[in-house]
């Protein structure tokens, strides 16, 4: 057919694939070359070595930061899924007629500026910020004793990240619950299952792919996060991503070590993505 000859698959795919190869795959390959000292920031010492990698695995600061970030973003992801699930459940299964309108209300904040939503919390949480001044103004606390750990803390980072991601996570969970065949629930009830039993043995397992997808949607961006911690985290909220950014931007750049840190993060995220997408495909075909 003529269609196939003029708009051949290679013609169609050529440009987008080439774009991603040049501006996505090759740049990552260059990071890999830096991590093995094939490229270096200071040209006098280059040549393939594993020095940067060895240094990384023997450096308790980098690994400690990595685990701290994993822990923080695990907590955030679990909290966010736990908040989003009941809301998605309500929208999908309560029989409300306006579920798409309510869903849009829920998701709309996610579509506004990320930085500006972080800014809002900076204004709220500061020592003399909206929240503390409100407490003083209403006489709940005296002016000399503001709650001082609010801003520039690990708590602030996790609060803001949870705030930012809740609407987005509700989406995949909603989709998995909304597409659930409700006759299965009726069948469960007819066979004598209580609501709790029906939930545990039918609804929850069937919505698991949505939960896992939602979990990954939060975990992947937050584990490498550096913008939110640099704005509201202070020193105790400093994360792995901040370390990477600093290795590339401060007065003492170390691109080789920074490349190792970045590649390590990328590998962890890639493994997680592959494992979970296999899992979800297995769930879908089961």
């Amino acid at each position: 057919m003529r269609l196939r000859s003029v708009f051949a698959t290679t013609t169609l795919l050529g440009l987008p694939v080439a774009w991603l190869v040049v501006f996505f795959v090759v740049p990552i390959a260059i990071v890999a070359l830096y991590s093995f000292d094939v490229y270096t920031l200071f040209p006098e010492k280059h040549g393939f070595t594993l020095a940067a990698w060895r240094g990384f695995f023997h450096n308790s600061v980098y690994l400690g930061l990595f685990w701290k970030s994993v822990k923080m973003s695990l907590i955030v992801s679990v909290v966010v899924v736990a908040l989003a699930y009941p809301v998605a459940y309500y929208l999908a299964l309560s029989g409300t007629k306006r579920k798409y309108v309510l869903l849009l209300i829920l998701i709309a904040p996610f579509l506004t500026s990320y930085l500006l939503r972080v800014l809002a919390w900076k204004v709220i949480l500061g020592n003399n910020g909206v929240f503390n001044s409100f407490l003083v103004w209403t006489g709940i606390r005296s002016a000399d004793h503001p709650i001082s750990q609010l801003l520039y803390s690990r708590f602030a980072v996790m609060l803001v990240l949870a705030y930012v991601w809740v609407p987005f996570v509700a989406l995949p969970i909603f989709v998995s619950l909304d597409t659930l065949d409700q006759r299965l629930l009726e069948a469960a009830a007819d066979l004598g299952a209580s609501r709790l039993q029906a939930f545990c043995r039918v609804t929850l397992p069937l919505s698991l792919p949505g939960v896992v997808a939602g979990f990954l949607f939060v975990f992947i961006p937050t584990v490498g996060e550096f913008v939110t911690p640099s704005l509201v985290g202070g020193t105790s909220g400093y994360m792995y991503g901040n370390q990477i950014a600093d290795l590339f931007s401060t007065g003492f750049p170390d691109w080789e070590t920074g490349s190792v840190l970045a590649l390590f993060l990328l590998c962890v995220v890639a493994v997680l993505t592959v494992v979970f997408s296999r899992f979800m495909r297995a769930e879908a075909t089961a």
Binding site: I28, L104, T112
Partner: protein
């Protein structure tokens, strides 16, 4: 009996939903309130009404310049992303080829890369290639980030369209370009527009990748980030935050409603 929810369960979940929505909108409302507050420090008690901060922002050339720069970057990068996305989506939906799963994995991969990793990758790439950092490098980065979003919006729409319409156009003698322009494009236009919009808002707001590849001319998020370090600029930043948030909320919600209406009118959407 309703198996999914008891009467009490429904009430509890409704309250929970309302509380979560309050939590999501309260910070935005607080920004709105303090953008009109007559005090350079955003704190209680409120000290009076003023539009001073809006006037300051309206007469701040750096701020307006940054907004304009971001609009240009977002327009170019999302146009490019939508163009590439349409090509890729047609190939993925309408063609059968051996490496399809590998191709779609590559095309969607930018969705799951941490932005910090992609940012430094581009930085090292442009450094190695000897390309000066500028708005062009930001555009390139944003095109990569937003391409998968456009594909995710376009693919479902393309699968809804009956292939027979295209075949009929060929049988009646239309060439591939005519068929695309007269048959396919009008049918996917709502999806094309919403893909453009998603790409535009993503790029307009993007800080992490841009911070590594931006040149001397600042985009809006870059300007905003550096302005946050100066307390004296905070009130204007709050005012501009309110404007940007309200505009993006209106545009996004309006576009979603428009898309639904348009696709219903164009038909071929299963009315559920």
């Amino acid at each position: 009996m309703d198996v999914a929810l008891s009467g009490n369960g429904r009430r509890v979940l409704r309250i929970f939903f309302v509380l979560l929505v309050v939590f999501l909108y309260a910070p935005i409302a607080i920004l709105l309130i303090f953008s009109f507050n007559n005090s350079p420090i955003p704190a209680f008690p409120l000290s009076g009404f003023t539009t001073e901060w809006y006037r300051q922002f309206a007469s701040n050339p750096d701020l307006k310049g940054a907004l304009w720069t971001s609009a240009i970057v977002a327009a170019i990068s999302s146009a490019a992303a939508v163009f590439l996305g349409v090509l890729a989506a047609i190939a993925l939906v309408r063609r059968r080829f051996a490496a399809k799963s590998a191709a779609s994995a590559l095309l969607l991969a930018p969705l799951v890369i941490p932005y910090i990793v992609f940012g430094i990758s581009l930085l090292l790439f442009f450094h190695a290639a000897g390309i000066q950092r500028s708005l062009l490098t930001v555009v390139i980065g944003h095109t990569v980030i937003t391409l998968p979003y456009t594909i995710l919006v376009l693919v479902p729409r393309l699968t809804q369209i009956d292939v027979n319409l295209e075949e009929a156009a060929y049988d009646l003698g239309a060439g591939p370009f005519r068929t695309f322009g007269w048959i396919v494009l009008p049918l996917i236009l709502p999806a094309v527009l919403s893909a453009f919009l998603i790409a535009f808002t993503t790029s307009f707001d993007e800080y992490a990748v841009a911070s590594f590849v931006v040149g001397t001319r600042e985009t809006f998020p870059i300007y905003l980030y550096s302005a946050l370090r100066f307390p004296s600029r905070l009130p204007q930043v709050i005012a501009v935050a309110v404007v940007v948030m309200v505009v993006s909320l209106v545009v996004v919600v309006g576009a979603e409603i428009g898309r639904r209406i348009a696709e219903r009118r164009l038909g071929t959407i299963p009315t559920s």
